[in-house]
Amino acid sequence: MKPAPFDYLTPTSVDETLAVLREHEDDAKVLAGGQSLVPMLNFRLARPEVLVDINRVAGLAGIGVEDGTLRIGAMTRHRALETHLSSADGAWALLHEAVGHVGHAHIRSRGTVGGSLAHADPSAELPAAVSALGATLVVQSADGTREVAPEDFFEGFFTTSLAADELLTEIRVPAWPAGTRSSFLEVCRRRGDFAQVAVAAVVTLTDGRVTQAGVGLAGAAPGTVQARSVVDGLLGREPDAGTIAELAANFAADLDPPPDSHGPAEYRRHLARHLLVRALTKATRPAGATRASVA
C-alpha cells in the first residue's frame, strides 16, 4: 500500500464537511479530484491523519450564469469546464484556453477547478487565469462565508489563505464589457506538463483605448503573480506594439523566478517577456485581424 494510513471520511453536505474540518483542522486534508494529492499520498509527501473526500458532497459541482456572473462550483471537473465553455468568447474564453493546458484528458476527467486553485501550484494554469479575470473565490467555514480576491487567496509557493477549517466552494467570474478579448499562452516542455511560463491576459478596448485589463502569470515566480505594472501601464492608452514591448520588458526584468533543472531564471524571464508581448498583442488586435497583420 502506497499511502500512509489515514481515516477516510465521506461527508455528503457542505455543512457536514465544514464540521469535520473544524473538528480535525490541520490533521485533515481535503480530497477533491486527487490528481495532485494522490501522488503526494503515494509518495508519502502528504501524510494526513484524516482524508476528507468531498466527491460525494451535494451541490459543489456545476456551472451556471447568474446576473451576468459565471459561477463555477469548486468540484466542477476540468473536462466539464472545458466542454461548457467551448464556444465562449471574450473574457471567459480565457478559462477555456487555460483549462485545455491542464494535464491530459485523463487528468481533466477527474481534476477539479477548486482543487487546482486550492493546491496553488505556482506553475498551474487556472490560478493565473482567475487572477487575470478578477474572479472571486468563495470560501466557507463553520463560521460563515467570505469572498476572496485572487491576490488575497494566492500567497505563494503552494500556499493560499485558506485556513485549515475552510473550504473553497465556488469561483465567480465577473462579466467583462463588450470589446473584451483574452489570450492564454503557455510554454512547456511536453504536452500536458505544467507551464514553464504561462501568461493569461484579458483586455477591454473602448474606442481603441484600454479601459480594463487583467494579466496573470504562472511559472514566473514562486507563486501565481499578477502583472499590475503592465495593467496600469495599459489603462487609458492605445496598446501599440511599442507600448506593449516596453511594459513587458520592464515587468519581466523585475521578476525573480526560481531556477530549476529546466532552465535558469533568465530563461523564465525571457519566456515571461515574450509571452506577455504575444498574449497582449493577441488580446488587443482588432477583430478580424489576421495573424500576419500583427506579426
Binding site: M1, P39, A105
Partner: protein
C-alpha cells in the same frame, strides 16, 4: 494511534469499506482498505491484470481505464472512491465489439502498435475514447490524444499508424 484504537477505527469504516463496482459489465462487491488504489484493486482483488501499474503518480498512463465512460488514471483514485461506478478495462474492450479483438486492438496487431506491451492497455483505452467521437483524425490530433501515455519501445510511429488505421476500420 495504538492497536486498540485502530481496531475501533476499522469497525467504524474509517479504514476499510465494502464497495460495489461494475467492471466490464460484472458487478463485484469487495471489502477494501481505504488506501488501496483503484488499479491495485482491479489487478489484485479482481485479478484483472490487463491494467498496468507504471509510475503510480499519474504520469505514464499505463493504468488508464474508463470510469463512467471517461478515461482516468486508476493509480490516482482510491478504490473506495469507485463505489457505485462502472469501469471498462482492456479486458472489456473486445466484448464491446463482439469479436475476438476490438477493431482498435486489431489495428495495433496489424500495424506494429506495440512492442513490449506494457503501455498497450492504457493506450488502447485512450485511443478507444478518442476515436469514439472523432472521425478523420489528423496525425497531430492523434499525437495530442496519446500525449498522456508513455511508450518506451515504439517511438510512437507504429501506435500513430495503428490509430489512423482503426479510424478507418472501426465502424462506429
Amino acid at each position: 494511534m495504538d492497536v486498540e484504537e485502530r481496531t475501533v477505527a476499522d469497525q467504524a469504516d474509517l479504514r476499510e469499506r465494502t464497495i460495489r463496482v461494475t467492471v466490464n459489465g460484472t458487478t463485484y462487491e469487495r471489502t477494501v482498505s481505504v488506501r488501496r488504489s483503484l488499479v491495485d484493486f482491479v489487478r489484485e482483488d479482481l485479478e484483472l491484470t490487463g491494467s498496468h501499474v507504471g509510475c503510480e503518480h499519474g504520469v505514464c498512463g499505463a493504468c488508464t481505464v474508463l470510469m463512467d465512460g471517461e478515461p482516468i488514471r486508476a493509480c490516482l483514485m482510491l478504490a473506495v472512491q469507485a463505489d457505485g461506478a462502472e469501469l471498462t478495462t482492456v479486458e472489456g474492450l473486445a466484448p464491446l465489439s463482439g469479436e475476438d479483438l476490438h477493431p482498435v486492438q486489431q489495428a495495433f496487431w496489424d500495424h506494429h502498435g506495440l512492442q513490449c506491451g506494457f503501455c498497450t492497455s492504457g493506450i488502447l483505452l485512450t485511443a478507444y475514447d478518442f476515436l469514439r467521437d472523432k472521425h478523420g483524425a489528423t496525425e497531430d490530433e492523434i499525437r495530442h490524444a496519446i500525449s498522456g501515455n508513455l511508450c518506451r519501445c515504439t517511438g510512437y510511429q507504429g501506435i500513430v499508424r495503428s490509430i489512423q488505421a482503426a479510424d478507418q476500420t472501426w465502424e462506429r
